[in-house]
């Protein structure tokens, strides 16, 4: 196979990964890593480097729209980024000393968890009572809905902050946005309405991914030949996905993809266990 053929196939694959990632809400980066390692037999470290870039591109592209609409809680995002960036840099440092098979197994486990998270019940309720810390840090805010501005208040800020640090470590270690953990911290722990937690998580993913991407770039994880088709393909796929989402409700599609992702995750774990990475 020539470089040209490889690039075109990878571009098409990355486009599909971006599309699936966007329709399921998993994120293109998560889907592209198994594609690169299981199908193209690319070293998982190159896959992680390319996926991180795709995550930054997706997050920044999508966040630009949400920030303007005023749904994203920028103060909350900034406060939690202390936890995710420190975690991400730590994760990227640990990654060097972690065997690739262990990383593959961990990745599979997170993939299973993320798939389960996307089909769970979502928090629509806005809390009317916040914890003392939420007032001190000025985290309580409001967001626009069909029925006007809805204000919400935050609970368990400390616990949410800790989960964010863990999300950061995993993001740095595995090269993914770990959006599922971020939403878990905000949605289930801090009781933030789903729409706010999703967009704020998306807003944070770019910064979290950039924190570890800097370390990975210096370590040679980012190969131009892989990064180029993956970044453009995933970005294109995610863009198509976001356009499709406004016109259809991909509920059935979501279940099908989540089951498919479960098999992929199982294969990652299986191959990692058998030292195939």
């Amino acid at each position: 196979m020539t470089i040209l053929t490889f690039t075109l196939i990878l571009l098409a694959g990355a486009y599909l990964a971006g599309l699936v990632g966007s329709l399921t809400g998993l994120g293109g980066g998560v889907v592209v890593i198994p594609l690169l390692t299981l199908v193209f037999h690319v070293d998982i470290r190159y896959a992680i480097g390319a996926a991180l870039l795709a995550s930054i591109a997706n997050s920044s592209g999508a966040a630009s729209a949400y920030v303007k609409e005023g749904i994203t809680n920028i103060r909350l995002g900034m406060f939690l980024e202390i936890a995710t960036t420190i975690g991400a840099v730590g994760g990227a440092v640990i990654a060097v000393y972690t065997p690739t098979n262990t990383i593959a197994i961990l990745f599979g486990a997170i993939l299973l968890f993320s798939a389960a998270m996307t089909i769970r019940k979502k928090n629509q309720e806005a809390s009317t009572e916040g914890s003392p810390l939420s007032y001190k840090l000025k985290l309580n805010s409001s967001y626009p809905t069909k029925d006007g501005e809805v204000s919400y208040k935050l609970k368990n800020v400390g616990a949410g902050f800790s989960i964010m640090a863990l999300a950061g470590v995993l993001s740095g270690l595995l090269g993914i946005g770990s959006g599922a953990l971020k939403v878990l911290a905000m949605d289930s722990t801090m009781h933030i309405p789903f729409k706010v937690s999703t967009t704020t998580s998306n807003f944070m993913i770019g910064v979290t991914a950039a924190a570890s991407a800097v370390v990975y770039l210096q370590r040679g994880y980012m190969d131009a030949g892989i990064a180029f088709p993956v970044m453009l393909g995933v970005l294109g796929g995610a863009f198509t996905g976001s356009k499709l989402l406004t016109r259809m409700d991909p509920k059935v599609l979501k279940y099908i993809f989540c089951i498919a992702i479960t098999f992929v995750a199982a294969e990652m774990i299986f191959n990692g266990y058998n030292h195939k990475f």
Binding site: I56, V89, K138, A210, L217, Q218, G220, G225
Partner: protein, 133 residues
């Protein structure tokens, strides 16, 4: 009093708008550079065989520092151009933090000036600290 509230709200909305635009342009510019670099890469090496991606070369592959990337472009290597796009992309969210910092300074929100400065320091530490333990 009412006027003051309005003014700070306006500044807040403006900064949000600037951040939104900055993020969008960052991604668009990075993608264009990567696209140009990628096409040149295919023109230069498209007919060659795929490099052995199943083995990880790490830093020996080059393009991991600013000077190596600059040298690559000087030598007319397309991979250097792609890597510039990669650097622009990584810089986009980092620049966003800097814009947020300016926003909080304009709002005179001391608590969030400190919080944003901490996040920015972590990023700068990650860039210049090297972390090659």
């Amino acid at each position: 009093m009412k006027k003051v509230i309005n003014k700070s709200f306006l500044a807040d909305a403006d900064i949000d708008k600037i951040i939104g635009l900055q993020l969008r342009y960052g991604v668009v510019i990075a993608s264009l550079i990567v696209l140009i670099g990628g096409i040149s890469y295919l023109v230069q090496q498209g007919q060659g065989a795929i490099p052995p991606y199943h083995t990880f070369l790490g830093e020996t592959a080059g393009y991991t520092t600013f000077s190596q990337i600059a040298k690559g472009i000087g030598a007319g290597q397309a991979k250097g151009i792609v890597q510039v796009g990669v650097v622009v992309l990584i810089a986009t969210p980092i620049l966003r933090i800097a814009f947020s910092l300016v926003g909080f300074i304009l709002e005179k929100d001391r608590l969030y000036i400190i919080i944003t400065a901490i996040v920015l320091s972590v990023m700068l530490f990650s860039i210049f600290g090297g972390l090659k333990i």
